[in-house]
């Protein structure tokens, strides 16, 4: 595995995204290495979610190229694309659970589509995933509208992990969770990364997550990556926003 650690699982080159006349991303470059947890921060409205959605192909880009697992997503045919999509899992900001399916059906949905396995194994996998994300198996037959915000996040993570992907995108996974739940969540992401060799692309505002879960941090500002590196690099940076973010009042409260 050692020789693979260095290669980039996501390679973003010079991408530009524009909505009408507003340029959200402007020639952005980013590499995510295999097996790392990348924390992605930036001011609200800077385009963090836009970048995530561009990488997974939900937002069209004006220019640039995106490679995931070494596959250029623009050049890929639909079969190659599907193969890539099967290897990643995505946790949307609002969960994006299918509202007319139960928790069980939500988690089983991708598995059922891609693998021919028995109903028994499907049901067991649901329980395993629910336990992994810290939920009781009893919630399996509830509908998303009957879940709390934190539970929706966890079920959405369970669905994102349903096929044991190699890469997961987490869009603000800990927002709306209580601090204990958020801590568990970070711990869970860490465990999964360790055990499954998962690569995690995490958009977050949670300083705790950045400190405890992330290997590397990338900062988005004015359409570009303004800094990337470890927590120590971030704190040493002279950029005013970074100064405020990592050395501000809230940050000091985290580091003590």
């Amino acid at each position: 595995m050692a020789e693979q650690v260095s290669d980039a699982i996501i390679r973003v080159r010079d991408i530009t995204v524009q909505f009408g006349k507003t340029r959200v991303l402007d020639g952005l470059n980013l590499d995510v290495k295999r097996g790392e947890i990348l924390g992605f921060v930036g001011p609200s409205g800077a385009g963090k979610s836009v970048l995530t959605r561009t990488i997974i192909g939900l937002v069209p880009k004006v220019a640039g190229s995106i490679e995931v697992f070494g596959v250029d997503l623009d050049a890929a045919n639909s079969a190659q694309r599907r193969a890539v999509e099967r290897r990643w899992g995505i946790l949307f900001q609002q969960g994006a659970l299918f509202s007319s399916l139960t928790v069980r059906q939500n988690i089983q949905f991708p598995v059922r589509e891609y693998l021919r396995v028995s109903q028994r194994l499907l049901d067991e996998i649901v329980v395993a995933k629910l336990v992994m994300v810290g939920l009781k198996p009893e919630v399996a037959d509830r509908y998303p509208s009957e879940l709390s915000g934190g539970m929706i996040k966890r079920v959405a993570l369970a669905r994102a992990l349903a096929l044991d992907p190699e890469l997961v995108f987490l869009d603000e996974p800990t927002s709306g969770l209580d601090p204990i739940g958020a801590g568990d969540f970070d711990e869970l992401v860490r465990t999964l990364q360790r055990t499954l060799g998962l690569t995690v692309f995490m958009v977050t505002h949670d300083l705790d997550s950045l400190y405890t879960a992330c290997d590397r941090i990338a900062v988005l500002g004015s359409g570009k990556i303004i800094a990337a590196g470890s927590i120590a690099d971030m704190k040493a940076s002279q950029h005013p926003w970074l100064q405020q973010y990592f050395n501000g009042k809230r940050a000091r409260a985290v580091t003590g």
Binding site: S99, S100, R116, V127, P137, A140, T191
Partner: protein, 412 residues
């Protein structure tokens, strides 16, 4: 070689040291082991009283169907031995699917008389197996059985549901009237901008399609009338038929059905998605009455719109009918108008147009009740939007029948 491995099962705690013994000097797996990069395998090796199951290959989601077969086969060994060892040291990659299936195998092989152990876990994988070992039995799904009592229960529930629908319609009617009364007392609470906005949506924007459809229906009635009346030499009576039919019935009924499909469904979908996103709850907590803010302007817009649309529709139908009568039946416009003047009176027009606001109110009430009944799911939104249109059209036709009886009995 085999002897080394046999010892291994008995000395689990020395496992990590022992693993080197059956690997080649260069760290590559020694001969005889399954291809580590290939399909998953589970080799069975008898060891006196016990049995060793050696897992190898990729135990991952991609191979889940094959893994499940392998594990189901191995589960049949249950009870055949007193000791089972599941050796996972040769597994090339493991994820939750593989880990769970190994754990499942361990559980199904161990019972009162037999013992099963998992051996050879590396540090990374042991936390994964620990994770899945916390998994309890899957909760069973209760399936609804098809039985006579179940069907009777369904019928009963449907009847209760119909009763509930009528109650909620009356409830909504009362709430809307109360809100209207409140607005009359405090005219400043009236939402003019919202009403005008909805009036544009349901009236102004509906004009082209309503006029087009009623025009075509007028043409068709006229053409059919002329075609059949001609056999009796009664061509000119098509004007009587057209006038009475369009003004009394077709004009308003057709327009009401179109409005139920076009605006009733829109109201239900709008209110339903607002309900789903807790927007209606937000309004309520800010001290606003959703009936007054959301429903009254919509109802008022619909009640104003339908008579206007019904009038325009009737005119378009008469125009279309007259055009066909002239071009196809040879009844020139002057003769058509003369005949029309004799055939119809203002009563016919009034009978038609009086029904319009009532039908609008019925459509609006049904649409709003259905909109507020939407639950949290997208499926529920779809069901209630469908129900809104179906019930709206049903009640429009029922109301039309009631009006027909009423007007017949008062001689209009």
């Amino acid at each position: 070689m085999l002897a080394t491995r046999n010892q291994l099962w008995l000395v689990n705690d020395r496992f990590d040291k022992a693993i080197g013994a059956y690997r080649g000097p260069d760290g590559q797996p020694a001969e005889g082991w399954a291809d580590v990069n290939g399909d998953p395998t589970l080799e069975r090796i008898a060891q006196g009283e016990g049995l060793a199951l050696c897992a190898a290959g990729n135990w991952t989601a991609r191979f889940a169907p094959a893994l499940e077969r392998i594990v189901s086969d191995a589960e049949k060994l249950r009870g055949s031995r007193t000791h089972f060892f599941i050796d996972v040291s040769q597994v090339a990659s493991l994820d939750t699917f593989g880990a769970w299936l190994i754990e499942r195998l361990r559980r199904s092989l161990s019972d009162a008389s037999a013992e099963a152990k998992i051996a050879g876990l590396s540090a990374n994988y042991s936390s994964l197996v620990d994770e899945v070992s916390r998994v309890g039995p899957a909760p069973t799904v209760d399936s609804t059985s098809l039985s006579l009592s179940g069907m009777l229960e369904q019928i009963g529930l449907t009847v209760v549901g119909i009763g509930g629908t009528i109650v909620s319609l009356v409830d909504m009617l009362g709430a809307v009237i109360a809100a209207a009364g409140n607005v009359l007392i405090h005219p400043r609470t009236f939402r003019l901008a919202s009403t005008v906005h909805h009036l544009e949506q349901v009236c102004w924007r509906a004009v082209p399609i309503v006029v087009l459809i009623t025009f075509l229906i007028g043409c068709i009635i006229s053409q059919q009338g002329i075609f059949h009346f001609r056999q009796f030499g009664a061509d000119i009576f098509v004007v009587d038929m057209l006038g009475v039919l369009v003004l009394r019935e077709i004009g308003v009924l057709l327009v009401a059905i179109m409005v139920a499909g076009r605006s009733g469904s829109a109201y239900t979908a709008e209110l339903g998605s607002m309900k789903m996103r807790e927007e209606i709850d937000a309004l309520r907590t800010m001290g606003f009455d959703p009936i007054e803010v959301l429903i009254l302007p919509r109802m008022l817009a619909l009640v104003l719109a339908l008579p206007i649309l019904a009038f325009l529709g009737a005119m378009a139908a008469l125009y279309g009918g007259g055009l066909v009568a002239w071009l196809y039946g040879g009844v020139d416009p002057e003769a058509f108008l003369l005949r029309l003047r004799d055939a119809i009176s203002i009563d016919h027009f009034i009978v038609g147009i009086v029904k319009a606001p009532v039908m609008a109110a019925v459509i609006g009430i049904v649409a709003c009740v259905e909109g507020l009944a939407v639950q949290g799911s997208a499926e529920s939104l779809g069901q209630h939007t469908t129900a809104s249109v179906v019930k709206g059209i049903f009640f429009v036709i029922v109301m039309d029948g009631v009006f027909a009886i009423f007007f017949a009995s008062i001689g209009m």
